[in-house]
């Protein structure tokens, strides 16, 4: 293979973004920034987000498209986290309880969501977006009326419902590091390990009978039909799996971040994750674990590096704008690529 073929295989956006990121790391010392801290930041954000990005894989593989409805899975995760806190479960157990409930709600929500998407074949992405949005609004009402009692979650003085941000400091903040007795190391080993575990499970899953069936539906629906695979069922399965992983992903995110963010916080959760996996080389129809790893690293790298570097050069914080342009530009690029559908 010559250079051109290699470039085509990698894709221009990836190369540009990769070079851009590399140049930022290189420029760190000249701008008086601490490269080690910068890299560390990138890794921490990688650990926070990797499972969320991973959650997109099943739906892409099953041909259900980019999961713009990720907020739905995220809400399931939020339910898991709040219930765990409500039950007063602390430490690693608390984390496990949160994950457990997250999975349960992820399955329920995902199943309903899957049924909806099956009714909307061909227009999944648009409908997914709006299912995600409306689920956020619906859950906003729930946060107001669900009978949570924990003092750590409700408003201290008056006000009804849960707070907008709930600290998990007393529960399972950075529990994945604490459990490994790595309190003083800033590298997110726990998150990386748990990501590897889930990545392994997912890649194993796609080698099972069920996973193979799902993949067949995604790559060639006619082939799948001729092979006797129940297409609708596989699609629902993929949606359930994606929602479940998104639910788990947000709990991992929270334990690293330190707060459970309710109400409108999950609204735009899907977009950065989708942008990340696309930057990693996935397309609307195909995604691998490698795409997840590369993409999350590049995307989070840019998010952590641009503010400090740009600030170092022109004393302005443009991170939000850059995030919007990069992430949506990437999604736009994927949507307009030829021969994707």
């Amino acid at each position: 293979m010559n250079v051109k073929a290699h470039i085509n295989k990698l894709g221009w956006p990836r190369i540009i973004i990769g070079l851009f990121l590399a140049s930022m790391y290189i420029s760190c010392p000249f701008l008086g920034l601490d490269l080690k801290a910068a890299l560390n930041d990138t890794f921490i954000r990688f650990g926070m987000n990797a499972v969320l990005v991973l959650s997109l894989v099943p739906m892409i593989q099953a041909g259900t498209g980019l999961n713009f409805g990720m907020p739905l899975g995220v809400e399931a995760g939020l339910l898991g986290a709040t219930i765990s806190i409500e039950l007063g479960a602390k430490g690693f157990n608390g984390f496990l309880v949160a994950i457990l409930f997250a999975i349960i709600f992820g399955i329920i929500f995902g199943w309903i969501y899957g049924l909806i998407l099956n009714k909307a074949k061909g227009g999944e992405m648009m409908i997914a977006t709006y299912v995600g949005f409306s689920s956020v609004a619906l859950m906003c009402i729930m946060w107001l009326i669900l009978p949570f009692k924990s003092q750590d979650m409700i408003w201290a003085y008056g006000g009804s419902g849960l707070r907008t941000t709930i600290s998990v400091e007393n529960y399972w903040y950075r529990i994945l590091e604490k459990v490994l007795n790595l309190k003083n190391i800033n590298f997110p080993i726990g998150e990386v390990i748990i990501f590897i575990i889930f990545a392994f499970i997912i890649s194993m899953f796609f080698k099972t009978k069920s996973g193979l069936a799902m993949k067949a539906v995604g790559t060639n629906e006619k082939f799948a039909k001729a092979t006797g695979i129940n297409i609708e069922k596989e699609r629902i399965k993929s949606v359930v799996l994606s929602s479940m992983l998104a639910a788990i992903g947000i709990v991992i995110y929270q334990q690293s971040f330190g707060f459970v963010q309710l109400y409108l916080a999950p609204f735009y959760m899907a977009f950065p994750a989708i942008a990340a996996i696309l930057i990693g080389g996935a397309s609307v129809k195909k995604a691998t674990i490698l795409n997840v790893v590369i993409g999350t690293f590049l995307f989070q790298g840019i998010l952590t590096m641009t503010p400090s570097v740009v600030n170092g050069i022109i004393k302005t914080d443009m991170s939000e704008t850059i995030r919007i342009i990069v992430s949506n530009g990437m999604i736009l690029y994927a949507l307009t690529r030829k021969g994707e559908l």
Binding site: K119, A120, M126, L335
Partner: protein, 367 residues
């Protein structure tokens, strides 16, 4: 009859909901009517700007936010130049056109590359251009683009403030001709402009270009083989929609009187589309009547929900979230219904065709 009911299930549902909730909201009739008239004059133009791309088969154009941004940039300029009153509004309208046309062409070309998924693409395009808009307005203005009036800028010396006071053009259109009936103020001039757009839309559908768009919307392949320039026709549909949206945003903001530089446009696409869908439109069929009834119903919901929430659930917040839920849910629901109905219709048609063929066979035998 039954088909009609199913086709109009969304407006009927919403109407029932409003009818049930209105008495509980404790709102009085006249102020509510005033509010509706106000919102109609404020939003209807934007909603109408969605119609033409639907005719051209490009679905709900979330890209109207591009037009909204063009309108806002024009407003920033006239505010900076201190052009006030009705002249300011008209000048802003003129200035918005080149921006809208450029953005419209860009959007049209991009959507031509994403046939079959125009809606999601136009939505993401809206987000993307929003980033570019931020880059221009938040970092470029006062820096690269000259801004005379320093009061418009953030304290750091560049970038437009979060809120731009449009007091000098506020209600410039609305108050031009104003009528009061039973304590209800009616902004006649604005409504006349909206009516003008309505007639434009009706007229446009009957032109050659309108006919081409209808053809492209129904079957691109056939349209192409009959010599219609499909990509160009689609780009034109988007350009027209974007330009109109620019005007719409100016009308909207002159009524409100302040502009949230970085937020005013964001929700416009979403709300306009939700309103149109509430009026019984779908992503492939929409009428002016859908637009009008949609705006009325959707904004009734706006007005009623918080009060009803307060009176029923004891929390205005719940009502507010409920409204948000309904507006997003409606879009999801209509899209699902539409997709599902299309599938069913296709199946039904094939079945009928098959039956017709079988019947033809039988007839032949009996002859």
């Amino acid at each position: 009859m039954k088909k009609n009911l199913i086709n109009n299930i969304v407006p009927i549902l919403i109407l029932t909901l409003i009818a049930l909730v209105f008495p509980l909201s404790g709102l009085r009739v006249i102020p509510t009517i005033q509010e509706i008239v106000l919102r109609l004059s404020r939003n209807l133009f934007l909603v109408l700007s969605l119609l033409i791309p639907i005719v051209a088969g490009m679905g709900l154009n979330f890209g109207i936010v591009l037009g909204a941004m063009a309108g806002q940039i024009a407003l920033i300029f006239i505010t900076d130049w201190h052009i006030i009153g009705i002249q300011g509004i008209f000048l802003a309208t003129i200035i918005s056109i080149p921006f809208s046309v450029l953005l419209g062409i860009l959007a049209g070309k991009i959507l031509n590359k994403a046939k079959g998924r125009e809606m999601i693409t136009s939505m993401i395009l809206g987000f993307f251009i929003n980033g570019v808009y931020q880059l221009v307005v938040l970092y470029g203005m006062g820096n690269i683009i000259h801004i005379t009036d320093k009061k418009l800028l953030l304290s750091r010396g560049y970038g437009v403030r979060n809120a731009v006071d449009l007091i000098n053009v506020r209600r410039g259109l609305d108050s031009l001709i104003n009528l009061k009936i039973y304590n209800v103020e009616i902004p006649i001039f604005t409504l006349l402009i909206i009516a003008g757009l309505g007639f434009f839309t009706i007229w446009f559908r009957k032109t050659k270009l309108g006919q081409d768009m209808r053809a492209v919307g129904q079957d691109m392949e056939v349209a192409r083989s009959s010599g219609i320039n499909v990509p160009k026709t689609r780009v034109l549909a988007i350009v027209i929609s974007t330009v109109l949206a620019g005007f719409g945003q100016i009308i909207y903001l002159q009524n409100i009187g302040t502009m949230n530089t970085y937020n005013s446009h964001e929700q416009i696409g979403m709300f306009s589309i939700a309103a149109l869908l509430v009026g019984g439109a779908s992503s492939s069929k929409a009428t002016i009547f859908n637009a009008i009834s949609g705006v009325i119903l959707f904004h009734m919901l706006f007005i009623v929900s918080p009060n009803a929430g307060k009176n029923i659930m004891g929390s205005a917040e719940i009502g507010e979230y409920f409204r948000v839920f309904i507006s997003y849910g409606i879009v999801a629901l209509t899209l699902v219904l539409h997709q599902w109905r299309r599938k069913k219709e296709k199946e039904y048609k094939r079945k009928k065709e098959m039956e017709a063929i079988m019947k033809g066979e039988l007839n032949e035998k009996s002859i």
